[in-house]
């Protein structure tokens, strides 16, 4: 452990944790809206993959990462629509249609990459954007204020989603259709339309999360780039009890665990690395098991809505 100052390590762990936060936050907040409206979208992983590819591809071809992000969001919306078509209109079992969507997106992104790119190459993604003034604050600066703008955006999305969910008309509809779709329907709320909107929003955010991986984090694309992060994001929604603040805490816990295991390995603490790699998963399962249960879960989650079956 020569040459390492403990305080630097702690700052390092926290800063890495914050950097790892963004894709989970984007995807989980999107998934939160889906689940709040009553749709379990397990296809997040797949949508992230497509978002990652589209973000990368547009940036590669047009040289503009912002455009890449926008196109990734659009791709996410289209895939969200596909999921909505299958699970809302066709009322398919949601867990399985999500797996189907994941497989389709995995295949499609791999195919498009091969056909239209064909080799691994890197792009100029977003650079860290230290916030003037704040970035120089000792300890807090490096942890919070020396990341790229998408990291800030992801954290900003927490209060924004909270506000949208609890303080707007639309958010009220979302909260209602996930608990009592029939009741919302009798008040003229178009239940399936709200679910479509949520799936599109969830898709957009998953696409954004994917784009972050390529444009904001790795600056390249490779097969299966999401490596299971989408599934973790879904788990974090449960962990966060469908609340943006809870999701922030869950994402923090998971990314901090991940950061911790990287640092444990880097610092050479003797410990089979496989156990380090599984640490975040174990902690997440444990956290799911002890999470507070008596909160209003979206009780209509996973149940397709059919008016005439009242």
């Amino acid at each position: 452990m020569q040459g390492i100052v403990i305080s630097d390590v702690i700052i390092g762990i926290l800063a890495t944790g914050v950097r790892l936060l963004a894709p989970f936050l984007f995807a989980s907040l999107g998934e939160m809206f889906c689940q709040r409206s009553g749709v379990f979208n397990l296809g997040v992983e797949g949508i992230m993959m497509m978002g990652a590819f589209v973000g990368f591809f547009v940036t590669l071809r047009l040289g503009n990462p912002y455009l890449g992000v926008v196109m990734a969001i659009l791709a996410g919306i289209v895939l969200g629509l596909l999921m909505a078509l299958i699970s809302v209109t066709m009322q398919a079992p949601q867990g399985i249609s999500g797996i189907g969507l994941h497989m389709f997106c995995w295949g499609l992104s791999g195919l498009l990459f091969r056909v239209y790119v064909g080799f691994i190459t890197s792009i100029d993604g977003f650079k860290p954007l230290p916030i003037p003034g704040l970035a120089d604050i000792p300890v807090l600066g490096p942890i919070l204020f020396q990341h790229n703008w998408m990291v800030y955006l992801s954290i900003l999305f927490v209060p924004i989603s909270w506000f949208v969910l609890f303080k707007t008309n639309w958010g009220l509809k979302v909260r209602a259709v996930g608990v009592a779709p029939q009741a919302a329907d009798t008040l003229g709320v178009n239940v399936n339309a709200v679910r479509y909107q949520c799936l599109m929003l969830g898709g957009a955010l998953a696409g954004l999360a994917g784009a972050f991986l390529t444009v904001g984090q790795a600056n390249m694309y490779a097969d299966n780039i999401t490596a299971g992060r989408g599934f973790i994001a879904v788990a974090l929604v449960y962990f966060g009890r469908w609340n943006p603040v809870g999701i922030l805490l869950g994402s923090l816990l998971f990314s901090m665990m991940n950061s911790l295991q990287l640092w444990i390995q880097v610092l050479g603490i003797n410990f089979p690395y496989e156990f380090a790699v599984i640490l975040p998963y174990v902690v997440t399962i444990a956290a799911l098991a002890v999470a507070v249960k008596n909160v209003w879960a979206p009780t209509a989650l996973g149940k397709p809505f059919r008016r005439e079956s009242i």
Binding site: N169, R175, A184, L187, N190
Partner: protein, 545 residues
């Protein structure tokens, strides 16, 4: 506060009513609404067959009919929840298209559903403004909405706290929220689907006063009901449906209960009554000082004690939401109690499992027969052995004995007159009455020592209702101890030996049926016996307890 008027609904002098009448009548758009030639079919069921009805501003139209007569379906068509196969709707003689509740609301139609359409996790205000435009654009404006709700509430005597979450409200309060929801949307035609079913007589009384007031202020009201006295008390005209068809529409003042009953049923109503004397057997089921939590925290049962004896029916009266569900679940072994004891046939069964209770001789007719009573995708025969499948002759070792099961099933189908094409038919394809017969067959054929019957005739037509009541009396005659939970006081009075009143998780009174009146029970159901000590009448009751 509450005054005792019995169920005669005489409303002579009421200041509230004057205030309502004084409300301006201008700006109301609906003069009359006609539904003509409405046909609505469901797979295998003709629910509405060329039905015509009409209702005018300022009147209360009672829509009368048995369960399954097509009343609710017709109203769901009017409210845009169902699309009719044919027929049209006219408002002020203009044809309108109502393809969703949104359209109905925009046209000034509101509906209070039999099963409340509330989002339990949201507050009253949030429930009310759901789906409405806000004065602040996309942002919620709950403060001013709450203010308007309070206004409406005081104008129509619909007291409710706009900020409490709906799941914390009593049934009566929830119904008020439903009405406020419709009024808030400017409903000029209000459809009320069996609104009094879950209320105490006194609350029903209050509600009818409110309805009258709304009609006087120029609104039209359609009241769905199968209770004749309500029709007589409140409506101006009455339309009777039977088997999906229109029987007739008459002016209430030209009708009487007997006439209406005949129109509704098409024959005279039989009446099942307990005839013999109260038997005095040993206590079979004893609950002593039972405390149990509700799903959402606060205790639902607060020191509940009761006992039911061999060969008697103990009727549980009470407004639903006072612990009926939790009490039933405790007895069935489905809910843990935090203190107290449960004894069945003298044995301590406190916090035992459903399996042990069944083993010890408990029969259970659950409140929600579709969800708790049967496995929907199972066949009739599979459902019939649900509780005894692991015993001979239905199984040998771990293997089910098909032949014995079929034989038993055929026997049950015959004895209990379960109308099903075959014993392989999926149980969910049966009608409500036949599902109830299936459940009765299963639980009664086991010769239970104690039978817990929760709302056994709810939602059934007259024939099925009679059948269920008759079966209960048969079982009683065989020496079974029966707990009958019902929302219909008449049913309790007709069948029970003793009646117990459940209020806020406690049995506040137990008495022989012959020693109490409907009014007294009604008052106790409203909690008057515990709280209203200023009032002379109530004090008497308190003293009686």
């Amino acid at each position: 506060m509450l005054k005792i008027h019995g169920i005669s609904f005489e409303q002579k002098q009421d200041p509230g009513r004057c205030r309502i009448t004084m409300e301006s009548q201008e700006g109301l758009r609906i003069k009359d609404v006609k539904m003509q030639g409405i046909v609505k079919t469901f797979p295998g069921v003709l629910a509405n067959d060329h039905v015509d009805i009409d209702v005018h501003a300022g009147e209360i139209l009672a829509l009368l009919g048995e369960n399954g007569a097509g009343k609710t379906t017709l109203m769901k068509v009017l409210y845009g929840l169902y699309r009719p196969d044919s027929g049209e709707i006219l408002i002020n003689d203009e044809p309108v298209s109502i393809s969703s509740p949104r359209d109905a609301i925009d046209l000034g139609i509101g509906m209070v559903h039999q099963h409340f359409m509330l989002v339990p996790s949201l507050t009253v205000t949030e429930n009310v403004v759901l789906g409405l435009r806000s004065s602040r654009g996309p942002l919620l404006d709950l403060e001013s909405a709450a203010k308007r709700i309070e206004e409406l509430a005081s104008r129509y005597s619909l007291a409710v706290d706009p900020y409490s979450p709906v799941w914390q409200l009593s049934i009566g309060e929830q119904q008020r929220v439903e009405i406020i929801k419709a009024l808030y949307r400017g409903a000029e035609l209000l459809i009320m689907d069996e609104p009094t079913a879950v209320l105490t007589p006194q609350e029903a009384d209050e509600l009818i006063r409110v309805m009258r007031g709304m009609a006087d202020s120029g609104r039209a009201i359609i009241l769905i009901t199968h209770k004749l006295h309500e029709v007589m008390a409140v409506s101006d005209r009455v339309t009777v449906l039977r088997n999906g068809r229109l029987v007739d529409t008459v002016l209430t003042k030209d009708a009487n209960e007997k006439l209406l009953a005949q129109m509704m049923v098409g024959r005279d109503i039989p009446q099942t009554l307990r005839t013999d004397e109260t038997s005095q057997g040993d206590p079979v089921l004893v609950l002593d000082d039972v405390w149990a939590d509700s799903d959402k925290g606060p205790p639902a049962l607060r020191g509940l004690s009761l006992e039911v004896r061999e060969g008697e029916i103990l009727g549980i009266a009470g407004v639903s939401g006072n612990g009926q569900r939790e009490m039933a679940e405790v007895i069935a072994g489905l809910r843990k109690i935090s203190s107290g004891s449960v004894r069945l046939k003298g044995e301590d069964m406190t916090n035992s499992t459903p399996a042990k209770m069944i083993q010890a001789g408990l029969g259970y007719i659950p409140e929600d027969r579709i969800v708790d009573g049967i496995v929907q995708s199972f066949s009739v025969e599979e459902n019939l052995i649900l509780k005894d499948h692991h015993k001979p002759p239905f199984s040998h070792g771990i293997f089910l004995q098909k032949d014995a099961i079929s034989e038993f099933a055929k026997e049950m189908v015959e004895i209990y007159d379960i109308r099903t094409p075959s014993i392989d038919t999926q149980a969910s394809h049966l009608s409500g009455g036949n599902i109830q017969r299936l459940i009765l067959a299963r639980d009664i054929s086991r010769n239970p020592a104690c039978l817990l019957a929760c709302y056994p005739s709810r939602g059934l037509d007259i024939a099925a209702t009679e059948y269920v009541r008759k079966k209960l009396l048969d079982v009683r005659a065989a020496g079974c101890a029966i707990i009958l939970i019902s929302e219909e006081l008449e049913e309790i009075f007709n069948l029970s030996d003793r009646v117990a009143v459940l209020y806020e998780g406690q049995i506040v009174k137990v008495a022989d049926v012959d020693d109490v009146t409907l009014d007294e029970i009604g008052l106790l159901m409203a909690g008057a016996g515990l709280t209203e000590t200023d009032d002379g009448n109530s004090r008497e009751l308190v003293d009686m307890i």
